[in-house]
Structure formats: structure tokens, C-alpha cells
């Protein structure tokens, strides 16, 4: 299997152990989804994945994840820009805190956001005066997903922004370009791949999110039930076929996204090189 001989020892055992562990813990369990699906008749499978309730849940899942990721692209870019380009008090603390959504258990994020945005919460009580209801509506799901997806956009854009060479900007400025022209024509072309990758990473993460959404969404079928919640509801009724069919659909979409992200990263690393 080796392409090139090496004097380092342990190739066989390290690769063997890795593949064995990967197969037992990840591949075997995941293949159960497809095995289970294979035992279903096509019409039965199709009826489950295209039922009204399932379609409503896909619409909600992808719709809210899309909106939340778009909002994150905008504000995440701004945060990354401020962190890299500007010096201000508290910058280091904010930089550390950006990763909070990675480190904070999703259930904790869920109850905290719900408490803030209910009609009596710190934020919700002001929004309700303007007739904006957040908790137990799709808007609440968007809020939870913004929280979850934020670090993906900030970190992806931040690392590229830090590597950006200032010389091009100076050259453009000395040739008479103004700041807006420099931003649009010199900086942004280098950042696009990172922005799109950040969006895709946030989107991929948020379509599977469960813990933070379950508290704030209210979980009403057809209205505020995201796809992972629907899977959960099917499992609780011991309807494994129903749960599996929807899980397979979600999984295939996630794989497609993962493939796209890898392609994007390959593309952007080639551009930078």
C-alpha cells in the first residue's frame, strides 16, 4: 500500500488500528442507516421522505439555516475584519470568546437564548412591543442557528485576512485607488473563497443542529419542527423506518455539502498558491 518506502516504523500497526477503529465506531454504525433503508420498499421510502410534515421540516431546516448563515456571513465578516485590522480595548477577550459556541454545550445555549427571547425575557420584552415574537417561532430558530454558526464564519475569514499581504493595498493606494476601490478590487477577491467556505461550514453545521433549537422552537409539527426534531419524534414513537428514511435524506445532503466544502478549500488553496 505504501507509495514510498520509509525508515520510520509502525506504518502497519498505526494504519491498521486507525482503519479498524474508524470502521467499528463510525462506518459500521453509519452503514446501518443504508442497510435499514435497503430493507424498505421504494414507495414506502418515498412516501415518508415526501410527506407533508417531512417537506415542511426540510423547508424550515434549510430556510432557517440559510438565513442564519447569511446573517453570519455579514456580521461574521465584520467581526473578523475588526479583530484583524483594528486595535481596541477588549480585543483579545472578544477573540477568545468567539469560540464560545464551540465550547458551550448546545442545550445550555438553547435555554439561555430561550430565556432571553421569550415575551418576558431581557430582549424579548422589548421586541414584543413592536409585535416581534421570537421564541417558539422560526425567527427563534434563526437566532439559535446564528449563535451556533458564528465562529465558523469568523475563524475562516479571520485566518485568510491575517495572511493577506498589505503590499498590494499600498501599491493600489499609491496608484491612486481610494479605500472603497481597494476593498472591492484588491481585498475582496482574495477573501471570497474564505467567505463562501465560512458560509458553507456554518450552513452544514446548522442544518444538523438539535440541542439549541429544541428549546427555542416550540416544536410544532408543520410550523417549527426542524428535520432533526422530526427524526427524534419518529424515534420516540419507535418508528425506526420513518426516522431512518429522513435521516438518510439529511445525511446525503450533508455529504454533498462536505464534498463541496472540500472542493472549495482545494480551490482556494490553489488560488492562494
Amino acid at each position: 500500500m505504501l507509495k514510498r518506502r520509509s525508515i520510520l516504523p509502525g506504518f502497519g500497526i498505526s494504519l491498521g488500528y486507525s482503519v479498524l477503529y474508524l470502521s467499528l465506531l463510525v462506518l459500521l454504525p453509519l452503514s446501518m442507516l443504508f442497510l435499514k433503508t435497503a430493507t424498505m420498499e421504494w414507495p414506502q421510502f418515498w412516501a415518508i421522505v415526501s410527506s407533508e410534515r417531512a417537506l415542511a421540516s426540510y423547508r424550515l431546516t434549510f430556510g432557517t439555516a440559510f438565513v442564519a448563515s447569511l446573517i453570519n456571513v455579514f456580521f461574521g465578516f465584520l467581526v473578523a475584519w475588526a479583530l484583524v485590522r483594528y486595535r481596541f480595548p477588549g480585543r483579545n477577550m472578544i477573540d477568545a470568546l468567539i469560540d464560545l459556541p464551540f465550547a458551550l454545550p448546545t442545550a445550555v445555549a438553547g435555554i439561555a437564548l430561550t430565556t432571553l427571547f421569550t415575551e418576558t425575557g431581557w430582549v424579548g420584552q422589548y421586541l414584543i412591543k413592536y409585535g416581534i415574537k421570537v421564541a417558539f417561532t422560526p425567527l427563534g430558530i434563526v437566532i439559535a442557528l446564528i449563535f451556533i454558526g458564528l465562529p465558523f464564519v469568523v475563524r475562516t475569514v479571520q485566518s485568510v485576512l491575517e495572511e493577506l499581504d498589505g503590499e498590494y493595498e499600498e501599491a493600489a493606494a499609491s496608484l491612486g485607488a481610494n479605500r472603497i476601490q481597494i476593498f472591492m478590487k484588491v481585498i475582496m477577491p482574495n477573501l471570497w473563497p474564505a467567505v463562501i467556505t465560512g458560509f458553507a461550514l456554518a450552513f452544514a453545521r446548522t442544518i444538523g443542529e438539535y440541542g439549541s433549537v429544541v428549546f427555542i422552537s416550540g416544536n410544532m409539527p408543520m410550523k417549527t419542527e426542524i428535520a432533526p426534531l422530526l427524526i427524534m419524534a419518529r424515534l420516540e414513537q419507535f418508528d425506526y423506518a420513518g426516522a431512518t428514511a429522513i435521516a438518510v435524506v439529511m445525511l446525503l445532503i450533508s455529504f454533498a455539502l462536505l464534498f463541496m466544502i472540500n472542493l472549495l478549500q482545494w480551490w482556494s488553496s490553489r488560488r492562494l498558491a
Binding site: L2, P9, S14, A96, P105
Partner: protein, 289 residues
């Protein structure tokens, strides 16, 4: 995929042509501040405010509850089992991938990322399909009076699954960047494989290793969706700390729910501090994570 590392605060000065006028600069900073205040600071404050709303006595009471203590114990067990196993995998996978050139390497790399692409709910349910009553090994397990789903082993398996890539993802790029000249030199000079690993490789990767471990640990202790599917929510038996938070919250016992949530929040904050310290340490040692 889960985390990208930045070295933060390189502190290089920007020339005049590279920055915006003062007013625009502060407008942008203010907008970023307001956004982060709303989505990061406020939830943090809310957790601690709610936790101590009914006083310190209630807080301690909530944590001393036997069911809660049991859930803390289970959370620790799940983390203590999944962390070393994923560590072993992380080291062996990164050794194979970073030090050798073999066919199917990029395939293996992509497969390691798989658990990140899977919704936590799906991660939990695949184990139900394997070990549940109607699952593949369900009958066999029942015949031998073994329980995996709605029991501790299921919780550990689900935790292992979701934390699977963390350490490997951290070590692979690190070791790839370091190459293998130092190890080769040690071997040529007569050191054995084990000795080379402990004297050369391990000191080189120790900060990255720690980094991966604290991230892995944070996720292991905080995992909710996957564990929720396999746990069955049996009080005092199969509830981890995050699940206990959910139960208390759904019973409108908000003070207790937030008291436990504040413990998990402290864990998250400590994780972030160690992470930041490791990034700083790594930048000093010029071994960027």
C-alpha cells in the same frame, strides 16, 4: 472542519493606506460589539443571572441533588472513556497519515471528518439501529442480558462517535507540517521506534495534542443530541449533565436548570482560557498549532 485555528493578535502595524478613517473604524467596531453583545455576552450573563436568581442556597441545593450528582458522574465517565480512546486513535491516525505516503490517504482523511457532517440526532440513532431491541444485535444482546441502548454503554458510544475527529484533526496538519526528518535522524542514530516517538515526536506535538484533548473533552461533556437519543432519560441512571439540564428546564425548575447550566458554562469558559493559553504558548515556541 470543526475549528480553524488562528494565532490571533499578530500585532503588525498597518500603514495609513491600509485602514479606514477614524469614524468608519469606530462605527464598524461598534456594530461588531453590539452584535457580539447580543449573541455572546447576553446569553452568558443570562445563564449566571438565572442560576443565582433564587440565591446561593438554592444554587448549592440544586447541585447537591442526588440525581444531579449521578448525572455529573455519568458525564465524567463518558468523557473519561471517550477521551483516551480517541486520543489513541488520533495519534495512530496522524502517525500513519503524516509520516507515510500510501494509497487511499485522502479517502481516509475525508472519512475521519464524517462525524462532523452527521447531525447529532443521526449519530445517536445509528447506535439505536445497531443495538436497539429491533436492531442488528438487539436479539443477541437481549439473549445475553446485555443493555447498550437506554444504558451507559450507549451513552459512551454516542459520545465517542461525536468526539471522534477532534484530536486527529488537530494532530494531522501539525505533524504534516513538521515532516519526519527529526524522527529519521533519531532512528539512524540507533534509537528504537518507541523511544523515537516519546523523545522526538511527542515533545513536538504536545501543545497540539493538549489542544485537541480539551476541545474533545468540552464536546464530550457537553454533547446533547446524540446522547439524548440513546439515553432514554432514566433519572439518576442514564442522564448526563446536559440531559439533566433539559429535564429540569422542562419541569419549569429554572433555577436548578440554570445552576447546572452554569457549571457547564464554567467548563466552556475554562476550555476557552486553556485554548487561548495554548495558542499563545505555541506561538512562542514557533510551533503554530
Amino acid at each position: 472542519m470543526e475549528n480553524s485555528i488562528n494565532t490571533g493578535g499578530s500585532g503588525k502595524r498597518l500603514s495609513r493606506s491600509q485602514t479606514e478613517p477614524f469614524a468608519i473604524r469606530w462605527l464598524l467596531i461598534s456594530v461588531a460589539f453590539v452584535f457580539l453583545a447580543l449573541f455572546l455576552f447576553l446569553p452568558l450573563c443570562a445563564i449566571f443571572a438565572q442560576a443565582f436568581e433564587k440565591g446561593f442556597g438554592t444554587y448549592i441545593e440544586a447541585i447537591k441533588d442526588p440525581d444531579t450528582l449521578q448525572s455529573i458522574k455519568l458525564t465524567l465517565i463518558a468523557a473519561c472513556v471517550s477521551l483516551p480512546l480517541n486520543l489513541l486513535f488520533g495519534i495512530s491516525a496522524s502517525w500513519a497519515i503524516a509520516k507515510f505516503d500510501f494509497y487511499g490517504k485522502s479517502m481516509l482523511l475525508a472519512l475521519i471528518d464524517l462525524p462532523f457532517a452527521v447531525s447529532p440526532v443521526v449519530a445517536g440513532m445509528v447506535f439505536v439501529l445497531l443495538f436497539g431491541i429491533n436492531g442488528m444485535f438487539g436479539e443477541w444482546l437481549q439473549a445475553h442480558d446485555l443493555k447498550v441502548i437506554f444504558a451507559v454503554p450507549g451513552i459512551i458510544l454516542a459520545t465517542m462517535f461525536v468526539t471522534f475527529p477532534f484530536i486527529a484533526r488537530e494532530l494531522i496538519p501539525l505533524m504534516q507540517g513538521q515532516g519526519s526528518e527529526e524522527e529519521e535522524a533519531a532512528l539512524v542514530l540507533g534509537a528504537g521506534g518507541i523511544k523515537t516517538f516519546f523523545k522526538i515526536t511527542l515533545p513536538n506535538i504536545k501543545w497540539g495534542l493538549l489542544y485537541g484533548m480539551i476541545l474533545c473533552n468540552a464536546r464530550a461533556m457537553g454533547e446533547f443530541g446524540a446522547v439524548s437519543v440513546v439515553s432514554g432519560h432514566i433519572r439518576g441512571e442514564t442522564n448526563t449533565l446536559p440531559l439533566q439540564v433539559e429535564i429540569l428546564y422542562n419541569e419549569y425548575n429554572f433555577a436548578a436548570a440554570f445552576a447546572l447550566a452554569s457549571l457547564l458554562t464554567l467548563l466552556a469558559l475554562v476550555t476557552l482560557c486553556i485554548k487561548k493559553a495554548l495558542e499563545w504558548k505555541a506561538s512562542l515556541n514557533s510551533h503554530p498549532l
